[in-house]
Structures are given as C-alpha cells and as structure tokens.
Symmetry: C2
Subunit: 506 residues, 2 copies
C-alpha cells in the first residue's frame, strides 16, 4: 500500500519511483507504446520527464528520439512535450496535437495514419518491429497485481503483452469507481487461430475487468494525481443544430419506412462539437432505448445515459468536459452498469461493427460531388489529425454518415468540392452526407445522380453555381460520362485557395 492507496500489490508497490527514474528506462531508438485515447488515460508524468531527458541529451549533442505508439490522440503532456523536444522519430496511429502536427507537416516527424482497429494486429504480427517499453496509466493495482484501467483502454492490453519493459503510472485523480466498468477481451489471436467474437449486443461483457501484466516486466511504477486533458465543448451553434436536425429527421424517416428499428441501431459518434450537437439533438428527440457502440463517450452521450434515453454505451475511452467529469465522478457507480470500456481492437472491430449494424456518424474535412470523403488532409498535403476510427466504422457500418459545416474559414473554403484532394472514404463506403443546408442520401444512386443531390442539398449557396457549372461542363466534355470530371480543373479550387486564400474566384 502506498500513499494514494491505489497500489495494493506489495511487489509492485515496491517498484514506486519518481517520473525521472521511470523515464530513465527509455532509451534513444526505443519504440514506446503509451496509453491514451482522445485525451483520456494517457500517462502524465513519465512523458514529460522523458521530454526533459531528451532535451538534456540534445543539449549535450547526443541523439535521442523514440517511436511513439498510442491508442489515439493524447495531450500536451505527451504528444506536445515530446514533439516540442524533437523527441519523436515516428508516431502512430493518430494524433491531434498542434505542435506535433506542425512537426509532421514540416517534414520533421514521420507519421503513419492507421485504422485504429488495425494497430494491435499490426503490433502482434511483428510488421512494426519490437515494442521496447510500455508506459501505461492505470487507476489502480489490485492485491493480485491486476491493473484497473483508467479513463481509456485503447491498445493497453497489447502494449502490456508485447513490451519488453513496462512502466505504470497509477493516477489517483481517476475515479476509484472505474473499477468494474471495463471489459478486457483476451480472446483475440492471429490467424489461423482466430475464433468468432461472441458479442451480439453492445452491452455484452466477454472479458475481464482488469488488464494483466507480468510483474517481472514492470521496471517502474509512478504515482500521479493529475486530471485528464478535459476540454469544454462549445455549446452547439446554429450550424451544428441544423446538421443535427437533418440527421435526426432522416433517422425518423428511416424508422417510419421500416428500414431502422424504433430504438435505432447502435450509434457511433465521432468526437467534436458537431457530434456533440447531434447527441444533444437526440436528447430532444422521440427516440428511446438508444445504445452506442462507439470509440468515445463525450458529454452528449453522458447526458443521454443520465436521462435514460440511452440505455447503454460501449466505447474505449471518455472525452469529457471538466463539468462532465465532475458529474461522472459523482455518479460513477450509477453509470458503471451502463458503460462498458473495451480495448480499441474490440470497440472498432470490423466483425462487430458489421454484426451490430452500427450507425456511424463522423466529421470530415470535405466531400466531393461523387461522395468521396477526405477526413485527414488540408489541400491534399497537410495532415490535420488522422483517420482515427472513422474508417473502422464507415467501412462496415449499416449506414455511414459524414457531417460537416458546408464552409470553413468564413466561407473561403467549401466543404463540397468537385474532387476531394485526398480520399479516406471512397464513394463505395459513404452513404449519407450532411451539412447545415441539408442531407444527401447517396444510397442506391449512380454517380451523376449523386452529384445532383450533393450540390442541391449540401453545398453552400455561394458555391452551388460553381459546382453546377463544373458538373454541366464535365458531363459534356469528360473522358467518360460515368463519373464526369475535368481533370485539368478538378483540384483547381484547392490550388486557388492556396494561392489566394479563398476557393471562390476573385
């Protein structure tokens, strides 16, 4: 037992050191698997101590860079600190940190943008090379040495299994009532030994509530008491509320046509203000007994659970505002039976997304006339964040929705363009596109018809005539009339933006 009372295993309690001593176990050239998913459950102390070690090494003229694998995005204490210290050689599978993003786009840092459900498999297969160290935040250690996960699970099971050395951060800030909320499935395997995953409802528990680790591999345990990066969501603005309205109207229409059950199907919702607005819209809707099979539980979903409109949510992480964290902590025991946190290989698993018939709702950067979606790149070259789980869900969803305001940068950028500058979701995988102007249901439409509804329903009024003009000329002059494009100008809107600061002609 240590000061925080969170380490109940004597052997591991004996390994408590400070962050500096723990970080000393990480060496130049190491690959480090860290916990963390969407600003939750990432180690807070060791990465900053590592950044200080790296800076000291660089000051002394010594090289010191590591490869960093995580669950998804983390926080300034991890991605920000290590990127600022020029300490990351290669980063995967997702990031959203501004310092890190700048390094990547300056060509100073390698970044592999991987489907989140694929990471554990890639690590097991050995394609990515060995994992030297795992640095994993937990909320406690049981007397038996089992690890109580914290506010995200992400790839922690895989990091703990695969790493040669393990550093644990035991964070007393995390609610002690998290214990019992997690479901860690230890049944995955590499082919040919894979078996069906026997999960048929979002709330099914198929694993154990703890992470396991071989105590002999644990080289250091660090105690911390630091909050997650909890950022407040903006209150839904008019644009977000209109997007939510179109989406909910569509869902009601599908129910009335008998194509969706009255309680819908399990919802997946990307992170952000628009997604939060959709969840807020559902709170005001007539839908009841909703469920979620998603990556992240954010404020709006907690509201749905509290009101009872949602009966159950499965995810791999929280992403809450400070106010929502307080609310969650105060009522964690009530939430515990209605929230299941899973490893991301299960929360995002194609087998389960397909079986459950998930309704996948994700944000995007831009969509084109024919329903191709860009989720990751600005003007074709500059990475924004990454594909995250959007592909995991959209690829196997029952219905895949992509939502965005119709313009950005005060109207200088149209989210509906003739041709997207990068494709993350192909025309074959995108069912519905929504902006504040309306909803385009692309299912069962051939390409030329898709162009018509995308322009009519989703484009901003000031861009509509430009798009219609392009469509008309492309239909007259394209090399083929199946997906009519004028390749010499298909990307000219992006070129114009880079050159003039606006996609609109001057």
């Amino acid at each position: 037992m240590t000061a925080t009372g969170r380490i109940r295993h004597a052997g591991l309690a004996a390994k408590v050191v400070d962050a500096e001593q723990a970080a000393a176990h990480i060496r130049h050239g190491d690959t480090v698997g860290m916990s963390g998913f969407t600003g939750a459950g990432y180690p807070k102390a060791v990465p900053q101590a590592l950044a200080r070690r790296i800076t000291a090494a660089h000051d002394a003229g010594d090289p010191f860079r590591v490869d960093v694998w995580t669950g998804a995005s983390t926080a300034p204490e991890l991605d920000g600190a290590l990127a600022a210290a020029d300490g990351i050689e290669l980063r995967l599978p997702y990031q959203s940190d501004p310092v890190s993003r700048q390094k990547i786009n300056d060509g100073l840092m390698e970044y592999i943008d991987v489907h989140l459900s694929h990471v554990a498999q890639l690590a097991w297969e050995g394609f990515l090379g060995p994992l030297d160290v795992a640095v994993v935040e937990v909320s406690g250690i049981t007397a038996e040495g089992d690890l109580v996960p914290s506010s995200s699970i992400g790839n922690n099971k895989t990091w703990l299994d695969r790493a040669e050395r393990v550093v644990l951060e035991v964070n007393a800030w995390q609610s002690a009532d998290l214990e019992g909320m997690h479901d860690v499935y230890y049944g995955t395997a590499l082919p040919p030994d894979r078996r069906p995953i026997q999960l048929v409802h979002p709330g099914d528990r198929i694993g154990v509530p703890y992470l396991r680790v071989d105590p002999a591999k644990v080289v250091a345990v660090v105690e911390s008491d630091v909050p997650d990066r909890n950022t407040a969501f903006a209150a839904p603005d008019d644009t977000a509320r209109r997007i939510a309205g179109h989406l909910i109207e569509f869902l009601e229409h599908e129910v009335s046509r008998g194509r969706l059950p009255a309680q819908l199907l399990p919802l997946q919702s990307g992170v952000g203000n628009v997604a939060n607005a959709v969840l807020a819209g559902l709170e005001e809707s007539r839908f009841e007994q909703l469920t979620a099979y998603t990556e992240v539980i954010q404020d709006g979903m907690l509201d749905l659970l509290r009101s009872g409109r949602m009966t159950l949510a499965s995810a791999t992480a929280f992403s809450l505002s400070p106010a929502a964290v307080d609310d969650f902590t105060a009522h964690a025991r009530d939430f515990r039976n209605r929230i299941v946190l899973r490893p991301q290989e299960i929360s995002n698993h194609p087998e389960l997304v397909r079986r459950l018939g998930v309704l996948a709702m994700n944000g995007m950067i831009e969509a084109d006339l024919y329903g191709n979606v860009n989720s990751t790149h600005l003007m074709g070259s500059r990475i924004q964040n990454g594909i995250g789980g959007s592909g995991d869900f959209a690829r196997n969803a029952f219905i895949s929705f992509f939502v965005t305001p119709s313009t950005a940068k005060g109207g200088a950028i149209s989210a509906i363009v003739p041709m997207v500058s990068h494709v993350d979701h192909t025309e074959h995988d995108v069912h519905v596109i929504v902006t504040e102007h309306g909803l385009a249901d692309l299912r069962g439409l051939a390409p030329r018809r898709r162009a018509q509804v995308v322009v009519d329903r989703c484009a901003a009024p000031e861009y509509r005539p430009l798009l219609t003009d392009y469509v008309d000329r492309a239909q007259a002059a394209a090399y083929g009339r199946h997906t009519p494009h004028l390749l010499a100008e298909a990307l000219s809107w992006h070129v114009r933006y880079v050159e003039t600061g606006s996609m609109l002609p001057s």
Copy 2:
C-alpha cells in the same frame, strides 16, 4: 420428370415453358435479380428472350427498360443482349461487358458500383426498392423442390427470398455432380438480430447444399443446355511471371520471418491473367497445404487443387477456360469435397475475411506515390468494370496486395502515377504493390517513404525520373510535407494522356 431429367419436382415440372413465355413475366419498370457471377451460372435463355421483347416494344414505340441486379459480371447473352437493346435503366453491382460499359460511359445507363458483399444486405434493407422478378439458373430441382445451384451462387439466395415472382432456368449443361458442392448459409439477418457466423476454416460447412424457393412464387421454369461463358486465359507472359515471382518471394520471406505460417493463410485471388500467373507460380513453389477463401475459382486454382498443393478452396463461382471445364466435369466428384461454393455475402463477408486473415491479391488500374489504388476508372471518369470484391477483401485482409504490369497501351500509360484519378482503395488499406519490376511493401511506412519505394520498386524505368522529379518538387513546395503534392499538376499525366495519347511528355 422432364426431358432433361433435371426437374424431379412434379409441381415445378408442370411449370416448364419456353423462354419467350417466361420472359413475358418481366414488365417495363421491373427490377430483375438475375443469377450470374464472373461468367458462370447466369441465365442464358430468358435474358435473350427478354431482349427480344424489349426490342419489339421499342420498335412499337413503347418504353421498356428494367433495373438489373446480379451477383457480378455475366455474359453477352445477359448484359450484352440487354444493353444492346437499350433495355437496362440501372445496373448493379458489377459488370464487365463491352456493350454495357460503352452505354454506361456514354451516359445512357445508370450503374452503381457496389461492394459485392453489401448487395444482399442492401436488398434486404429495402434501400434499393422492391425486387419484382428473380431469374436464376440452377443445375437441377430435387423431388422435394429444393434447387441445386449451378456454377455460381452469387446473390441467388437473396433474389429467391426477396422476389415477388421467380423464373428458374434449369441448365442440363451444368455437371450433375455439382450437387453437394454448395453450402448455402441461411443464418444471415438484419441487425439487431445478427449472430456470429461460426466459420473458422475455409472448408467449414455451415449451411445446406440447396437453395430454397417458395414454389408458389415460381411463375415459369425454362430448360436449357448451354455452356457458361468460358473464356481461355492467356498463358502467363513474362510480365505476369515476374509479378508472380516477386509476390511468391515476398510470401517466402514473410514465412521465414515468422510473420506468416508455412502453409500461408487463405488466399483470395482476383480474376485475370496476372492472377492466374500467380496461381501458376504457387504451383511451382515450395508451399503446401494451401487454402483459398476467395470469390472465384479459375484455372490456376483448379490446378493447385488437382496437384494437391491446395487442400481446399471456398468461393462463390467458377471462372474456367473450356479446357478446365472439361477437366472439372470429368472429375467433379473428386473436387466436390475440396471445393465449397457459398453465397457472395459469405464468400466476401468482412467478418470472415478478417477472422481467416485472408491474403488478398487483386489487380488494379493504377496506384499512386502514396499507396492509393484505382481499380475502376480510366482517366478519372470512364468506368472499366467495377470494384467487385476487391474492397471486401482488401479492407479486412491480413495483407492486401495490388498487382499490375507497370505500364499499359505499349508504355503510353504508367500504372504508377503521382496521384490516382479515382480512389477505390485508400492508403490506409493498401499494404503491398507489385509490378514486374518489383514489390513495394508499404506497411509501417509514412507517406514520403512510401513514395520512395513505390518509385524505386514498381515504376517503369521510363517513368521513374518523371516521378522522382515530381516527388522532389512536391517535397520542396507542397502546402504540407506529410503527403507532398503539387495539386496543379497531380493529375496532369492523365490530362496529357487524354490530350496526346501518352502520359509521357512529347
């Protein structure tokens, strides 16, 4: 019992009519679900009779067009005849007929290019509207009224279940020994009622050997004795043999590194000469006890089964040369225990592709520097065939390979371009690219490194300096250095080809 002896159910035997009478059950505006997958198992007589009806109606000044859904591609007697008669309003989910292709690219026919595993689900959900008629080829009808499938299953189960009226073509040309080879799984459902599909090995039988139909829905039975569209494959040329060589060397390397089992994992192989060359290469390799979990069994796979190098193949259809058909027919009983034909929703199911860890090998039209693949469009606008099952397999494969000769049209077209003109498989889903010049393993590589290996390993020598020049200038001047592109010229190679007939500058 009828003339051919293939109709052993008295009630259905009483419904035998000629093709003209059967086609009279199909009306203007109908949606018709037809059997057929890759030139196998499609109805031969009724579609031609329908084409004659349509032509007669058009000659009389009456409108007559139908929507046509199939498994995948069919043959001149179906797609060709109906397209030539201007009888198809909308076609899905795949086609490869030259007449049909021309109509689509002339803007005279709607075409929806759908993942083959998604079609049955879309039809059930009702998104595509009602199915009026099913026209399904079978190889026999049992005394109990069960249908013995023919040389493909495709979407027949779904068409028979969903259609209001059913026309059966009983083809006595099909081997009587097909009986018992099929495995029709009746366990699929719409969410939330989906359950795990309990298949863990490519050879597992989880269904029944027959298709079911409500006899009351059968409005006509037609007898035929006509061969499938069996086209001979070209003998592998030097280019195809070199592609196969690189691929097999890679597989051997992966086995030697312990990343693949010695007997590999179940193979999926696209259709065509290059795919056939890869299969021929495997025949000469050291691999043993191979299995396949694929769409189509073509000549090379039959050879592997005959030699015993492959123990078992699961597919949804045959696609054999005339010589291979003779061989198959002569030994159908021997093959019967080592071939399983399934509905395409099962042969291509994401859950099963992921679980089995399929090694997915598909052809393509072009790939770009960063690993995006175009499988469907020429110069961004003109459809070639369609995505078929390549997305079903690549999206959830253990390793996804895309193979192509490095050039087409005598060198006027490079299969490696700065940016593909259409994306069917994104950078996130493409693991390995192979041409006759070499193999680019893109796993674990950030975009700039991918560009380097794609150019060095895969591009044709005459295009390599042009690609390197583009890469160098893009890395210096792009809007971001993560995926460096010069958008004003990213598609200029395609523009040049359309304008001058060659991607090479004059």
